[in-house]
Each structure stands twice: as C-alpha cells, then as structure tokens.
C-alpha cells in the first residue's frame, strides 16, 4: 500500500514537471510580454532594458531552469504586469475557487444521490421522467448561458441575489448552482442506472428475502455496491468543474484562480499563468490520487491488488 502511494506520488511529480515545462514553452512562444508592458511610445532601447531587467533576454532553457529552482523553493516569480509575487496572487484567489468548487461539488452530489434514488423508487413514473429531463437539461445547457439566465431571473428581475462578485453566502448561490448543474445531470443518471443495475443481483434478493425494509435494501445494499463507478465519475467531475469554473468565474466576476488564469494569458503575464496552471495541475493530480485511495478503501478487490 505504502509503495503504491510513493509510486503514485513520483508519477504525479513527473506529470507536474511536464505541465510546468509545457506551460513555460507555450507561454514563451506565444508573444513578447515586453511589447504588452511597455507603452507604445517607449523606445527600442527602453524595451530592451525592461526585457533585461525581467530576465527575458536569457536563453529559454536557462530561464526555465531558474524558474524550476525557484518553484521548488516555493517561489513562483513575480507578475510582470502587477509586480506582485505570484504565490501571493494565487493565495488571494485560491480560497474563492476552492469554496466555489467545493460548494458546487457537494451540491451536485447531494442532489444527484437524492434524485437518482427518487428515480429508482418511482421508476418510470412522472417524477422519474421529470428528473430525467432536468438531468439532460443540466448536461446540455452551456454554463455561460445558464449563468446569465439565472442572473437575469434571480438578480436582475427578482432581486433576491447579487449579480456578481464574492461576499456572503448569497454571492455563492448562483455560481455554485450553475457550476453544479452539469455534474448533477450526469451523476443523477449514473446513480439511477447504477442502483437499477445492482437491484437485480442475488444479494439484493437475499436482503429482501431476509425481510429487510425496502429503504434498508436501497441504502445499505444497493447504493453501497453501486458506489464504485460513481467514485470514479465523481473524481472526473471534480476535474471537469475546474475547467468549467474558468467560464463561470468570468460570468459572475468571481475572484477565483480560473479567471486569473484567463486574464494572465490574455495579458501575456507568463509567470502568473504558469503558476495558476501548476496549482490547477497539482489539484488534478491530487484528485486522482484521492480517487485511487477512496477506491482502495471501498473496494477490497482494489486493496488486494495494490
């Protein structure tokens, strides 16, 4: 078990190394930040001086090496545009992103489990069909559009919730809901299918034959066994949310790391973009690691293999 974890950690490190190298090279190849930083009327000599003071006139590999050395010591450099340490910018934004993702994830999972089970209990009934419709809607409606519609209804017309920005719980509701809906859609279908799948199994028949109430059969036996594929999907969904958050954070002016990444890319603020991608990449890797560990915990077969 321990060796499996170290093995995974070593692989995760290699993945992050590759991520940092690729973002560095892509960022570097896509344009000269000095042209965006200096004012239009700056002379070529002044631009060269600025390039030199930012260390951008050194060979690319030398720049990458010093970037890596500093990164290993927890220093991701300084924003070209805002002259602030990248770690500080990320530290300012990361909590907002984590809060949004965690809320949306918990919301999506809770609603998906509830709706999936309701669908099983009332399968082929009106409620089942209505919830299936909602799930499909959640999967197909693009987040940026849904976000705007929710804002129009709840913020502009009904004035129940704020339009954008971060603050109290009221600011969190609309972006979290928008972010949660696609995940809810996919997960609730999976929960329904998963439970229906295991309901035909022998141990369910045994459980019913024992005289267990239907509720205990569903929660104690069917759901537990249907959980395994759900955990995999949940891990993927969490990764997906990070991707969707880029758009949602812009639509709701949510001060998260996704919006910061997009803005940094637009402004050729390499070091900020690299730092964000590195942090998001680390998040991805950790989620995958977590999924594997949870797997081992809930499925004895996986544990035995490891």
């Amino acid at each position: 078990m321990l060796s499996a974890v170290t093995n995974r950690l070593a692989r995760a490190f290699l993945v992050l190394l590759a991520v940092s190298f690729l973002t560095f090279i892509i960022g570097h190849d896509s344009g000269d930040p000095v042209l965006l930083l200096a004012r239009g009327d700056a002379t070529a000599a002044q631009k060269q001086e600025l390039r030199h003071s930012l260390g951008l006139d050194r060979p690319v590999m030398a720049q990458y090496r010093s970037y890596l050395e500093n990164a290993l010591q927890g220093n991701l450099g300084e924003s070209y545009r805002q002259h602030l340490p990248v770690t500080r910018l990320i530290a300012l934004r990361l909590p907002a992103s984590l809060l949004l993702a965690a809320t949306a994830f918990v919301l999506a999972m809770a609603l998906a489990l509830l709706s999936g089970m309701l669908c099983v209990v009332y399968r082929d009934g009106v409620l089942d069909k209505a919830l299936a419709g909602l799930a499909v809607l959640g999967q197909v409606v693009p987040g940026f559009w849904l976000g705007l519609v929710l804002v129009l209804i709840f913020a502009v017309h009904l004035r129940l919730l704020p339009v954008s920005g971060a603050g109290g719980i009221q600011h969190l509701i609309l972006p979290a809901l928008t972010l949660a809906l696609p995940t809810f859609g996919r997960m609730s279908r999976l929960v329904r299918a998963g439970i229906l799948d295991v309901l035909g199994a022998d141990y369910i028949r045994t459980a019913r034959a024992k005289g267990l109430p239907e509720r205990d059969v569903l929660l104690g036996h069917a759901l537990k066994n249907a959980l395994l594929p759900l955990v995999t999907q949940a891990g993927l969904e969490l990764g997906d949310m990070v991707g969707n958050a880029f758009i949602i954070e812009i639509v709701f002016a949510w001060p998260g790391i996704g919006r910061m990444t997009v803005e940094a890319i637009q402004q050729r603020d390499f070091l900020v973009a690299q730092g964000c991608v590195l942090v998001i990449g680390t998040g991805f890797v950790l989620i995958n690691l977590g999924v594997d560990l949870v797997y081992a915990a809930i499925d004895p077969r996986v544990r035995a293999r490891a």
């Binding site: 344009g31 042209l35 009327d41 340490p85 502009v156 129940l160 954008s164 920005g165 402004q267």
Partner: protein, 502 residues
Amino acid sequence: MMRIRHSLATCAALAALLLGGCGQKAAQPIVVASVSDVSSLDPHLLDVNHPTGSVIWSLFDSLVRRGADGADLPRLASSWERVDDLTWRFHLRTDVKFQDGSPFTAQDVKFSFDRMNVSPFNALQQLWQQTTLKQVTVIDAHTVTLTTEKPATTMLYWLEEAFIAPQAYYSAHDESWLNTHPMGSGPYRFVEWIPGDHVTLTANPTYFGGAPPLRDIEFKVVPDLNARLNGLATADIDLALNLTPDTLAQANTSHARGVTVLGLRKLHFGIAQHSTLAALRDPRVRRALNYAVDVPTMIRTLLHGSTVPLTSVVNPPNNNPALKPYGYHPELARQLLAEAGFAQGFDLDVDFTPMWGQDKDIAETVAGYLNAVGIRTHLHADEWSDFKNHLSHQSFNGIFYAGWAALINPAVELVIFTCNQEDNASGYCDPKYDDLVHAANTNFDPVSRKAQIEAAEATVWNDAYWIFLWRDPEYAGISSRINYTLRGDDYVEMYTATPRPP
C-alpha cells in the same frame, strides 16, 4: 411539531442571510466597474489611462493638470514661465501636505522626476525622452526649474502625467512595498487593493483643493459585459465602462442611464508601406481606398450615429480646418485605381484584433466596400499579442484596423508618421514631413507653429496615409446616485463626480 418549528426557524434564518445585503445600500461605496485591474499603484509605473491612470490621478498630484479639453491647468504648480527656450520655471503651492502630514516641497519634485528616468520606470514614463529634459534644479523650497536640450513645446503635456511622490516615504521603502502601498497628496487616500478584484479609495479630508464630494470609491474589475450591465440594473455599479453601441440602451433603467462621449482616439486602417504590395505606396491607390469606404453610413448603422468622421490625424481644436472628409465615391475610387494601373484590383490582407471596438464588424464592412471596387480582400483575425508584434515590427502586409492617440497634442499625434518612430507601424518615411513635425515641436511661436502643424496634417490627409474612419466613441452607464461627465481620453476622475439627489 417541535421539528416543524425548528425548520421554520432555519428557513427564516436562511432568508435573512440571503436578503442581508439589501438594507445596506446607503453605506455602499461608489463602484466604478472596469474590464481590467490596475497594473500597479506606483505612480511611476502608470501604463494605461484606465484603470491604472484613473487611480493614480486620484491618489497623486502632478504639477500641471490636464483638463478634459486638453487645457493646461495649475495643480501642484500655481504658476510657471519659460525663462528661455530651454528653461522652464515652476512656482509650487505652499499649502500642500502629503497624506502622512509631511509638507510638499521642490525636493519631492526633483526626486520624483529623477526616479522616472531610471529602469524600470523609464520604460513607461516618457517625460525625459519626449521633452529632452536634461536637469531638474531646486531653486528654493517652492521653486523648481527644468532644463531641456531642445525647446520642448510639449513640456506641460508630459508634466500632466508626471506624478509627485514624497521623497521621504518613497526612498524609505522598496519597490515591491511601494507597488501596493501608495501615498501621495491627491484627492483620495488609498484603502486597499485586492489584485484582480478591486481597489478601494476614500476621500482625503486634508486635500489642498478640499475633500472630493464622493467619499468612498471602489474601482472594481468586472470583465464580463453582461455582468457590468446587470450590476448597473441592480444599482450595484455606479459607473459601468466599456459598454457597446448595441448594449447602450440596456443601461437605461430606473437606476441608471447610458451615456456616450466622443472619444479622442482616432480609429483608422493603417496602410503598410513596407508591404510586398507596391500598390499601397501609390497615393492614388490610398485615396481610392478612402473614397471606396462609406464612413457616414457605417457610423449611422454600426455605431448608431454616436461619432463623427475624422477630418485630420490631429484632434480639434488644433486640426487644419481646410481638410474635409473624403466621402463615399466608389466610381472615383475605381477611376483612381485604374489610373494607378490596378483596374483589375489586387489582393489585400485586412488584419484586425479585439483591442479596438467592434473590430470584426468594422473590418468585414470595410472589406466589403473594398471588394465592391474590385480589391480582393483577405480578412485575418489576430490575437492581440500577435497584432502588437506586427505593429512593432512593421510586419503587416496590407491594411490593419487600429486606434491612435486619445489626446490633444499635435506633436504626439503627428509623430506616428515620422521615420523610425516606434509607433510608426505603417512605415512611412518622408524627410520633408519629418522636418515639418520636428520644426513644429521645437517652435514656441504659436503662429508659425500652427502653420507647420497644418502643413504636416495636409500631407497626411491628401496623401491618404490611413483609411480615415472616425473618433472612437466611449459608451458607459451611470447610476442615478451620481453626476459625472466622462472624458474623451479614458481617464476617470471620480473626484469631479458629485452625488445626485434622489
């Protein structure tokens, strides 16, 4: 029963939480919503007029203030005179204190200007380079002289963007601290900067000009256009910038109104002179391009009539009054093309980028007009950094949609066509034109200077150095809580805004 009561209480608490924000509107700061964040709060790292410039203008003072109409007004300098062609003398106010209570003196002026002349500040601050400033001399505590190498007719213009930082404070801290902890003498004091989200300022009660009428100001980053419009509709935003002509009407709600101001930036298509296309070096072809495009119709349809056609590369009031818009004459365009030997037309690249308003619509429409006179256009949508790369390396091969000089200063406006100038993206180089512009820039005689400027303008206009479009209009939404008049140069001066009685 107990259970029901419990959940009722929970519901009530939740509702209270949800609606909590509603009662607090009165204490809310005035919110200015912009597309992007400030890049620095160091007065000498000012990079763009808005939002960085708007915040710096609020926190710091310059010797001379630039009025919205380009007028040179006293600010920290109460008066000034030219001692001779190379020397300026400034008399400073004696009643100014920085926000930490220390007095403002000539020494702070020298310190600030000298600081602007070293890297990294000199890549952004153009005072020394543009005015050929050689030396700043402190005469006494409230008098300072500036000596230049050449006569500097634009001295006051550049001083308007040269902000005074207190020497004691700015030499006691390092650059990264100063970047986030600004302290000046301006109408507003700094409260906080959450990068990427907002900058908050509060009125300076000891400002020499009196505290500004609006107390708390928040410069907020709201990148999405719809989010800015919605914020305006719900009274969460008081000044929403960068709206578009087609969304302006949505700003008219019970809480807010949409406004348009005739901007000072001149939108045009640059015409590459270093192109492989010899046609573009022929003035007849360039005139034909201008005659082929129906500028008035584009203004009426695409911009809802919110601007006026250009009549010169120089903004009023310094423009040459003899120059008139080309007008839409497609037959004349065909005739000129034929005269130049291009009766069969030619292939032409048309580049555009989202930096300037409605880039796609405008580039496509212009391409359509050019196709109609037989020119075969090829549209290219460029990413901003690619476009900027082409601009600074003079590597466009056809025409490109761009904006130029949101300011009132003929010396700066005309310089774009001088040989080897950094902004000269089209690559014009005519020694006679250069002589005129350089003569005007070092000539203190208003009458002969005006004649030189007008002659240079006539060259640009008659030889059709651009496809001339219109002045870039600015669209904004203003809430019913405030009165504010927008400037044409993008700077937002919230200290000139006033509360509006309900």
